[in-house]
Amino acid sequence: MKIKQISLFAENKRGHIVSPVRLLAHESIDIRALYLADTQQYGILRMIVSDWQKAAETLEAKGFTVKVTEVVAVEVGDQPGGLADVLAALDSCDVNIEYMYAFPRFRADKAILIFRFADPDAAIACLQAAGINVLASEELLK
């Protein structure tokens, strides 16, 4: 149920996100989810893409510094309280979230939450026990 996410280092300067994104487009790689975490100096661009291996290879070949990590995707109803239920479940199992980002209206009335956990397997077990829909890679990318 773990999903590969690729992260890349980008300086916090104008135009520094364009070239990696364009490279992926050129290889017909679709970006399904994206989040930019930034500091004053630099940013970390996190992406879930249609073909992570090809994306990582393409970017590395062009000299980008890439890291592949495993994240967990959760589907919730796109309505008030959707996120709160998931967080409450994780809290009750004492699972630590390293970071998260969200995509509202991913499908009709569904939102997607992407989590990075210190212990993803424990988190998946916890979420599934609470009846929360953890997405497999194929479901997220279809």
């Binding site: 970390i44 000299g63 980008f64 990590t69």
Partner: protein, 443 residues
């Protein structure tokens, strides 16, 4: 300044009398002292004796000043390799002071002084100040750092020896420096030239006009500076600016200094014998030709230096100075033959940066040192290209990497260098090699 310019031993400051020693007497004194110091080093310093043996030389071979050229050189790496006390010629019980300055790696180089060495140091510094027209009665503020660095205590003892009133302000706290200058009626300042630029600016912001204060002279050293910087300083503050030269390995500040003619720096050559050599071959160059300055301490006890390679590029100026001093002059130093950078008076080597980066990451990332000058103060930035080993996709983890690099550099350099993480391959390479130093300081 209103005082009459000195022209001979008859009307000079009493401490300056040795500056006017007749040439024949000076050369005889130098030879006598050279023979004694060579003998002392040969007896007490193992490394020197070994090098003399390799050349089949002994102290008896020094029969004239020209014979100096036969002797082996000493260089900074010798101090590093024998760290901390390997070049001492006096037992520790006779050493009254230790100083240290940054070397090419994490370890500093250590220098030692007997009481007699401290006395000589004070006297040459006092001769520097006297040559700048300062006297008993002047109030001298010392804004060099006090501590292991030779600048602060060196200038302090020299100013006391002169009989001046010393304000030991040490470095930093620009507002307080300006306040002291104003409230104490300070007449002269000893600090690095860039720090004085900073004080000029700070005084302006505080509404203090330096031209209205009692200060009339500045004795600036510990880093190279230019004539255009001098013109700026003199115009902005109304003082007369003097260039002073020295290095810890020889004694600290006080090896050479300008007189009021400002035509080169007089070397106190009754104590420090200057030669100019070809930096590539080590061959002595004729007078007037530019090359590397090599210095021999003629009377140092705790740590004599025979033919020390300063890496500073200069020349011995031909002819006699109109001040009447018989001491030869060197040109102002503008560059070095190695890659050492002098930032706010602190020696920084690119290799130190490499050492720090290697310590943290285990591999050497591409890096670049960028020097800038902000508000008159030199700033150093170290740009480090991110490597896959360093890169983490969590901000917190990246901040830890950044903090680790910052800490390692602070420890090795002794001054703050701002670390910036940059993208891989973003530092320009020429012929495959990254350009290590970008100097954007304009004089």
């Amino acid at each position: 300044m209103d005082r009459v310019l000195e022209t001979s031993a008859a009307n000079c400051h009493p401490l300056s009398i040795p500056d006017y020693t007749p040439l024949a007497d000076l050369r005889a004194l130098q030879l006598k002292r050279l023979q004694i110091v060579v003998e002392r080093s040969w007896n007490k310093v193992e490394l020197f004796r070994k090098r003399m043996d390799e050349r089949d030389l002994d102290p008896g071979d020094i029969r004239s000043l020209d014979d100096l050229a036969k002797l082996p050189f000493t260089q900074k790496s010798d101090l590093r390799d024998t760290y901390p006390f390997g070049l001492f010629a006096s037992p520790m019980k006779d050493v009254v002071r230790l100083h240290a300055s940054s070397g090419t790696t994490g370890k500093p180089i250590v220098v030692a002084y007997t009481q007699e060495d401290v006395n000589v140091w004070s006297s040459v510094l006092a001769r520097c100040l006297a040559g700048c027209g300062l006297h008993h009665g002047d109030i001298i503020q010392v804004a060099y750092g006090y501590g292991l660095f030779t600048g602060g205590l060196g200038a302090h003892y020299g100013a006391e020896k002169l009989g001046a009133t010393v304000v030991p302000a040490s470095g930093g706290h620009a507002d307080r420096q300006v306040m002291l200058m104003k409230d104490f009626g300070v007449t002269a300042m000893c600090c690095t030239p860039t720090y004085f630029l900073h004080l000029i600016e700070r005084a302006g912001e505080m509404g203090v006009d330096l031209k209205q204060l009692a200060i009339r002279a500045g004795v600036f050293g510990a880093e190279p500076w230019t004539d255009s910087m001098r013109q700026y300083i003199e115009k902005a503050s109304g003082i007369e600016a003097f260039d002073i030269y020295g290095l810890s390995e020889i004694i600290g500040p006080g090896v050479a200094c300008e007189c009021r003619r400002h035509q080169g720096l007089h070397v106190f050559e009754d104590r420090f014998y200057p030669e100019i050599v070809d930096p590539a071959t080590g061959e002595p160059l004729p007078e007037g030709q530019e090359g590397e300055l090599v210095l021999t301490t003629l009377s140092k006890q705790a740590m004599p230096m025979i033919r020390y390679r300063t890496r500073d590029i200069t020349r011995i100026l031909p002819g006699k100075c109109t001040c009447g001093r018989t001491l030869r002059r060197i040109d102002r130093i503008g560059r070095r033959s190695d890659d050492m950078l002098i930032i706010r008076g602190v020696n920084v080597f690119p290799s130190q940066v490499e050492t720090a980066l290697l310590d943290v990451e285990g591999t050497l990332p591409h890096y670049q040192i960028v020097l800038t000058r902000e508000r008159g103060l030199d700033q150093i930035e170290v740009q480090v290209e991110i490597t896959p080993q360093m890169f983490e996709d969590k901000i917190g983890a990246m901040q830890e990497v950044h903090a680790r690099l910052q800490k390692a550099l602070d420890r090795v350099l002794g001054i703050r260098a701002h670390v910036t993480l940059v993208e891989a391959h973003s530092i320009e390479r020429s012929e495959g090699k990254a350009k290590r130093i970008i100097d954007r300081r304009t004089s």
